[in-house]
């Protein structure tokens, strides 16, 4: 007890101590430097990385594995700051910008994509133009439109890809025999199995993706929805989508009177057998949940015959980050073949790499080839057979808003 107290007092006292900032807040100056100079500058500093903290295994990979490399090889202290929604981080930067905190912000890096990236870009709150400096940038295939565009918004050197993901469904093979394999089948299945399905209410990320799948279905495919927002097209498809979802509502969990607030709440419902289907943008989560005992061993996952949506997620450095050099070093470490392989290991995280594996060293390539997915996780090759693109963020927010107004209440 005494030790804890002493520790506690110390930690309070320390937090009052002035923090010494390396002068790495000036993005233009950093961009003009060579890589070795940047690494030297970052030495001994810290980097505050804000990212979704809801998955223990991801936290562990970031804190232990990545944090360990930074500490041992570069003498950089990584502070992982877990948030429950990336919007919170965007808000912190927004608040700082409002208050005129332009070179001493609290956020050095964000795990981000989609709408939040768009907001950051619109608010002119992103540090850009550095990707070519990163040595590991050569592993990234910027010619791939799915990498060069974040939900339809050109990346243009303002963020660095980290992982790729594709939406998949999961079910418990011991409980459910024939899970629906397309949105059309799902609509019928829900009516035949009342109370067995639900989805998290948008703006939950995964819930919104599910609604987009229905939107694509109502539109007869994604092709006509690509490109800038089209109000007439939206109105036409949206009307059909709300009808489908509202017709489905009485057959949902709790007769659709309430929806889970987050994907984690839905995960609990599935784990507790309150619902029969689960889905996630990150199929590796199914394997993790089986491994830690949250899901039974009999869980299996699959993609849809009419395709599921895939995306790339990125890391971004806010314009007012005081530790840009350290953040760049961190991004370079994240892109390395070793770190991307570690991340792809099913027992670590199991997510797909954002780099081109064939551009890495033969050893790393061999390691990637040796990966065996757990039975509960559908392979990315299988999923990749029918992949759907993400829409531009303006479509996405219109769909979320529309859901809230027409289905959610």
């Amino acid at each position: 007890m005494k030790k804890v107290m002493k520790w506690a007092l110390l930690s309070v006292a320390l937090s009052y101590a002035p923090i010494a900032y390396a002068d790495t807040a000036d993005g233009d100056a950093v961009n003009a430097m060579g890589w070795d100079e940047i690494v030297e500058m970052a030495r001994g500093s810290e980097v505050n990385w804000f990212l979704w903290g809801g998955a223990d295994n991801i936290n562990q990979y970031v804190s232990d594995y990545i944090g360990g490399i930074l500490k041992d090889q570069y003498d950089i202290t990584l502070n992982r700051v877990g948030v429950s929604d990336t919007v919170e981080v965007v808000n912190i930067v927004l608040g700082e910008r409002e208050a005129g905190v332009n070179d001493n912000g609290s956020v050095d890096m964000i795990w981000i994509n989609g709408e939040n990236f768009r907001t950051m870009m619109q608010g002119d709150m992103v540090y850009c133009g550095y990707t070519d400096i990163l040595p590991n940038n050569e592993l990234v295939n910027w010619d791939n439109p799915a990498i060069a565009n974040d939900f339809g918004v050109p990346v243009e050197g303002c963020e660095v890809p980290w992982s790729r993901a594709q939406f998949a469904f999961a079910y418990d093979s011991a409980r459910t025999e024939n899970p629906p394999k397309s949105i059309g089948e799902l609509i019928d299945w829900v009516k035949e199995n009342p109370g067995q399905f639900t989805y998290p209410a948008p703006p939950d990320f995964n819930g919104a993706v599910f609604v987009r799948h229905v939107f694509y279905y109502a539109a007869g495919g994604a092709d006509q929805l690509l490109g800038p927002f089209d109000q007439a097209k939206f109105d036409e498809v949206a009307a059909k989508t709300w009808k489908i979802l509202n017709d489905m509502e009485p057959y949902l969990w709790r007769e659709g009177q309430t929806y889970p607030t987050s994907i984690n709440a839905m995960q609990q419902l599935f784990a507790n057998q309150e619902v029969a289907l689960y889905f996630n943008y990150e199929p590796s989560q199914f394997g993790i949940a089986v491994q830690d005992g949250t899901f039974p061993e009999s869980v299996r996952s699959y993609g849809l015959t009419d395709g599921t949506i895939g995306n790339t997620n990125y890391t971004l450095i806010p314009y007012n980050s005081p530790n840009k050099a350290a953040a760049l070093v961190l991004q370079n470490v994240l892109l390395s073949g070793e770190a991307q392989y570690e991340k792809a290991r099913p027992d670590v995280w199991g997510t797909s790499p954002a780099i081109e594996v064939d551009r890495t060293s033969p050893e790393i390539q061999a390691e990637f080839a040796s990966i065996v997915q757990p039975e509960s996780v559908v392979s990315s090759e299988e999923l990749g057979k029918a992949a759907l693109p993400e829409l531009q963020a303006s479509w996405i927010s219109a769909i979320e808003q529309g859901w809230l107004e027409n289905v959610g209440r």
């Binding site: 007092l9 309070v12 919170e88 609990q268 949250t294």
Partner: protein
């Protein structure tokens, strides 16, 4: 009062038993979950027992131990601050009658009737400009808002039954101001400081939204950690952190329990609003 019928006594016993069960019940699943693995519906007890949630919670990487230290530090600092600020105010309100006293009482008690979130959003804006957001110092300061009223309340109750004549006697016998305080005032008000401090500590200890807003997610106290795990579906780790979170309160309670009950009037001070 010894002529109670056996029925009445049986009723009391039954009501007491129900009360005991009800008071303990919500903590039971938390404790079980912390040792469970894959505890699925409809199993009443887990099929597999494990210590892995505890191993994780007590390991360095989980951050629970760090967070425990930080939470204790913040609560102790907030309590100390509210004692420092609250005892003089309690003295003024307990000992003196003066114009505007009701207004002062209303002001000091206002935070107990105006929900914290209503002021926290505004305070957050101010703290951003002052650079106090996302800092431990800022969190300690904002915890003063909900803790101070309890401190003042309890202390004014204590001072209302306190005779300042002893102080003047000590002074007239040549004791210095400091000695008078140490040997006369302090022992007399100590029970109040303990009870008020206990309340202040517990109020700070269980603060969630103020810490979340002002700490901006950077000051990760135990409730924040617990909330994150509770909403991420890891019931086993949630259970373990939940138990870790309630232990210090229990220890402090056991240390101060004899001051809480009885007729010292410290808790009764709540009747004075």
């Amino acid at each position: 009062m010894h002529n109670d019928s056996p029925w009445l006594r049986a009723f009391r016993g039954l009501a007491g038993a129900v009360l005991i069960v009800w008071l303990v019940l919500p903590l039971v699943p938390l404790a079980i979950w912390s040792f469970a693995r894959g505890w699925f519906f409809p199993d009443i007890l887990p099929k597999q027992w494990t210590l892995s949630a505890w191993e994780y919670a007590l390991s360095e990487r989980a951050g629970v131990i760090d967070s425990l230290g930080l939470t204790i530090g913040i609560s102790l600092a907030a309590t100390a601050l509210s004692i420092l600020v609250g005892v003089p105010a309690g003295r003024a309100l307990g000992l003196y009658k003066f114009r505007g006293k009701e207004l002062v009482e209303l002001l000091i008690l206002a935070p107990t009737i105006v929900p914290g979130i209503a002021v926290a959003l505004g305070i957050h804006s101010v703290f951003i400009t002052l650079g106090l957001n996302n800092t431990v110092g800022g969190v300690v300061l904002v915890h003063l808002v909900p803790t101070l009223p309890y401190m003042v309340l309890v202390m004014s109750g204590i001072f209302a039954n306190y005779d300042p004549a002893f102080e003047s006697q000590a002074r007239s016998l040549g004791a210095s101001w400091l000695k008078t305080f140490w040997y006369v005032t302090f022992p007399a008000i100590l029970p109040g400081i303990i009870v008020g401090g206990l309340f202040a500590f517990l109020v700070s200890w269980s603060q969630y939204i103020l810490t979340l807003l002002i700490g901006g997610g950077r000051v990760v106290t135990l409730p924040l950690l617990l909330f994150n795990f509770a909403t991420s579906g890891r019931n086993d780790i949630t259970g373990a952190i939940g138990i870790v979170y309630i232990l210090p309160g229990i220890i402090i309670l056991i240390l101060t329990a004899r001051h809480l009950s009885g007729r010292n009037g410290a808790v009764g001070g709540f009747g004075r609003i």
